[in-house]
Symmetry: C2
Subunit: 313 residues, 2 copies
Amino acid sequence: MDGNSHDTGTDPVVVALGGNTLLGERGPWTMDEQLAVIERTARQISDAIDAGHDIVLTHGNGPQVGNLLLQQERVSETPQLPLDVLVAETQAQIGYLLQQALDNELTDSPDFMTVVTQVVVDEDDPAFQNPTKPVGPFYTEAEAVEKSFETRKVSTGDRPYRRVVPSPEPVELVEGDEIARLVRRRNLVISAGGGGVPVVRESGLRGVEAVVDKDKSSQLLAEELDADTLVILTDVEFAYVNYTTPDQRPLHRISTEKLRAHLEAGEFGEGSMQPKIEACLRFVERGGERAVITSPDRLRDALAGEAGTQIRA
Amino acid sequence: MDGNSHDTGTDPVVVALGGNTLLGERGPWTMDEQLAVIERTARQISDAIDAGHDIVLTHGNGPQVGNLLLQQERVSETPQLPLDVLVAETQAQIGYLLQQALDNELTDSPDFMTVVTQVVVDEDDPAFQNPTKPVGPFYTEAEAVEKSFETRKVSTGDRPYRRVVPSPEPVELVEGDEIARLVRRRNLVISAGGGGVPVVRESGLRGVEAVVDKDKSSQLLAEELDADTLVILTDVEFAYVNYTTPDQRPLHRISTEKLRAHLEAGEFGEGSMQPKIEACLRFVERGGERAVITSPDRLRDALAGEAGTQIRA
């Protein structure tokens, strides 16, 4: 095979950026606020790159796709685009801001590239019979019953309803081979944003109204790239047992066996820490060397094994 | 240099898709209508690829970025993103739909990739002193005077005003080297959509509220790729002299010298055919072998030299 002279000596590290690495506190935010958060995240990532790690980035998109859903719902004279198209839009929205901030930090390295990424899901995935993932704006009960899509009561107060969509398992990254080739040639790549644009494979590819969990897609990307480490960045330095109780205890180094026992005991918050733990377990149980959960400011130390929750077989 | 074994034997062809290759008749359209148009365009492009041409795609984004501007203007509780971020979003919106439709046509070739592309402009470009490019929704005079951005009367009727933004010259594609490497290795690439995301280079890169003409960016891309042909697809098979008069005459084969004389005589519509002619002239005058203006249904024949307006030195 040609190109071996450019191949990386070290295996790549897939780093999944959570929403808090892209936005500040929840709630309304301005472009300047978003840029400040993204620039801080870019510095933390470039520190890790400077330390010699070959980093491949993925990211979430919850607030961003929610804003696009709200906007098009309110403006009836513009086309109502399906969710897959909106997920694609957020890949470039976030990818552009990240690649620019990273290019500004990493003046000596090749530029980061954002690759629009489709992820194949199985149209027989049971998730399509049971939509559970809340997306977009909150509605009153009266508004919710009028919607043409499925809604569910997800909180309390005046507007407790949200649209729910299926969250099927990721099966294959359509652009996976191309991304792997880029990474082998030491291109810096941002891909699979928002979990990837969900598509089913029939006679050809077709977008579907669903959202794929970004931690699961990051795990799949790490597996397809033969990454040695999967890092999931979130707003806490560690995963905890007995979280928010007096017995709260951070997990430092832990085996997959012990971590799975905690998971099965229901120790981790559904929709928050639980999917991250599941993605990490899947990665290591299928042969990955190490999975890490930590906060962006601890990324470099965590890659050195000195911070965060370190999960190994 | 490694990788020569995968380099292309033929020089690439840059094909710029105009708005009509992505949308049907002007006016409101549904997602199904847009998909039908994109699928037809994908068939025409795949015909040309099957005929042996190494095609690199770029595309416009006028209606799409206009919809995003309208949506966020109407929904004050979502962040008001600057124009550069919205241009990025349209790159993935259109790129995703195109790459999926092309993947479905080209089952034996590698997958198409959409690369989010920044284009550097000069912050001293005189365009920044004189915004001329209309974008987004139409306003009444009363609405226009209240806007925080520059507006201009661009038509007649009740809502003759639109926002106008600078349209500076493209200087450099930030991801140009990466795109060139992909193309040399026969990856199929969609890039520089909507003319590219406009940025200035100060201490680092910074997005600016502007729109770069997509035909000019396509010319720059073609030049950076050492393409032998630049094709600009539009809604007519030929460029015409005396267009829409009884003396209307299509241009078949024409030299840059003769074409420049027609341009200087004001033969081509400002904001429609004129920028296409200018981009074609610039490409051939700077050493490109051939530029072509034609409609998508004539692409394959035009690449064989048998259709469209063929411009050579």
